[in-house]
């Protein structure tokens, strides 16, 4: 009888595993199918892409969507603006916050506690709720319509500083002390010892910053209205929503829009392997610590 029960359980288990797998597969399809649809449309001709049909494979294959969006609609300019803002912004963010994290692990630094609470308090301020005064501050500083306003937006964050600090705390202080006695300068100790140990921390904040800057929408919408300085997300947004509402722009066929979306995704797809390696691990660590 015991064996019979075990067999029945094994049978039930198999049914459950099967249904479970089907459920997950269906879920994955809701992720895959829309993207296949987007890719297929981007590589279809303008006429074919506007037809009411289920398109999962390029119809009347053509790359005119890409050439139209890139050259005729000048998407290359916002694309370059986004590249500039993302790269410089990420660079300064990582540099400044990692240096700050390094300062905040020094054991005998007077006023360290005050600085830490000063930084912690900034994390309580809801960024979106100060949207209006932030606009006014940027206006007073004559930063409106400059890419600098976008580089400055979120250039430092309490989250990154504390994350880097946590990683640096993993380096035993005695190690850096003995290096100091050997005559190594502070910057050298930072660059050789700490950066090496905190590599995955650096990777995490770099990726996090890269992704959020590339996707940034509120700041450019607030600070930029000069069409030569808008970023990729803003350009795409107006292409997707305004063109579909007024359809006066004959250039913006569906394949053109989908090509624009694909172009904006490429940098993110390019870094996805690294995201998986560092980012998700960082996420897991963060969640476990709570």
């Amino acid at each position: 009888m015991g064996i019979e029960r075990l067999e029945r359980m094994g049978w039930k288990n198999k049914i459950f595993d099967f249904l479970n797998a089907v459920f997950l597969l269906l879920l994955m399809l809701t992720m895959i199918v829309p993207f296949i649809n987007v890719i297929a449309l981007a590589f279809s001709s303008g006429m074919a892409s506007m037809q009411p049909d289920i398109i999962l494979f390029p119809k009347d294959f053509s790359t005119e969507g890409f050439t139209t969006v890139w050259k005729s609609l000048n998407l290359w300019r916002p694309f370059m603006n986004s590249v500039i803002v993302t790269v410089t912004g990420t660079f300064f963010h990582v540099l400044l916050t990692s240096l700050a994290g390094f300062v905040l692990i020094q054991p005998h630094l007077p006023g360290k506690k005050i600085i830490i609470s000063f930084i912690l308090l900034t994390m309580m301020i809801p960024q979106d709720a100060i949207m209006i005064p932030l606009y006014l501050v940027n206006k007073d500083l004559h930063l409106i319509n400059t890419l600098s306003s976008l580089v400055l937006s979120g250039m430092v964050s309490g989250f990154s500083i504390l994350l880097m600090r946590n990683y640096f705390l993993g380096v035993p202080y005695e190690m850096s002390e003995s290096a100091q006695i050997d005559g190594a300068g502070m910057f050298r100790i930072f660059a050789t010892m700490y950066i090496r140990v905190a590599k995955s921390g650096l990777a995490t904040i770099t990726l996090f910053e890269f992704v959020s800057r590339w996707n940034m929408l509120t700041a450019p919408v607030l600070f930029i209205n000069d069409s030569s300085k808008i970023t990729l997300q803003v350009a795409l947004k107006s292409m997707i929503t305004e063109a579909s509402a007024t359809s006066s722009n004959f250039l913006v066929t569906t394949n053109v829009r989908m090509a624009g979306i694909l172009i904006s995704i490429i940098p993110l797809i390019a870094i996805y392997p690294f995201v998986q390696k560092y980012f998700m691990k960082g996420l897991m660590l963060g969640a476990n610590k709570e």
Binding site: N37, L217, N288
Partner: protein, 291 residues
Amino acid sequence: MRTIKKNAMFYIMMVPIVVYFVIFAYYPLVKGLQTSFQDYKLMGDRPYIGFDNYDLVIHDPSFWDALWNTLYIGGGILIVGFIAPLLIALSLNEVMKSWFKKTAQMLLYVPHLLSWVVIGGICIFLLSPDTGLVNMLLMKIFGMNPINFMADESWARSVMIGSAVWKDMGYNCILFLAGIAAINPSLYEAARMDGATRWEQVRYVTLPQLMNTMKVIFLLNTLGIFRIFDQIFVMRNPAIASKVDVLMMYTFQKGIMEIRFGPAAAASFFVVLFTLLLTVMVRKITRFDEV
């Protein structure tokens, strides 16, 4: 002497950080509060007018519409966006083949990485009545008439909630999975010794052990309710605006579109107030401090 020099260098490294936070975090907060009590004009003097801006906002029906929309859409995202990834995490946890598990995690995470412009754009397109994939499927497989999801008031909020849940499902799912991975395996062993079925293991081991992770995720997601902006900014249109415009959208419109900074700043402070209230409430309910 050497330590002084060394410390000086450390302080110099902190200067940009402190200056940045003063200009772009603390000062705007104070300036926002100040602006909310002023008749703020870009040029000329800015007289203080007491609580007039707050008064104006309170008596503006579209402010209350925006608050209700925020609570409806935000609450929907909070609840569905909590349950769905939890179910998926539990389901993924039952998968034995690690390649399948990894592929699923990887795919589900992708939308979280993309901007709301991309996700919103894809949604608008997929849901469009004449060429969208969703309506094509509804028509060809179920023989239904096309539904204009993006222009129909009765669908608008569900579309917002659904797309937001879809976008962040993978992210929250990974957080839950991390919590599940941290559960002591000997608990499952003991449960199996006692003859617990798989469902019983989920019910009596996984779920109770996951309580802390669930509280943290719920609390963090609660704070997001009043921050919804990008999504609505991309996906709204005049036909459904009254059903989906949230508080941040109201602030944006008052401040940036109508250039009435005083009322906009006052509305922002209501957002801050509501967020604080909600945080206190959720902390009380989940007894977060006891964790």
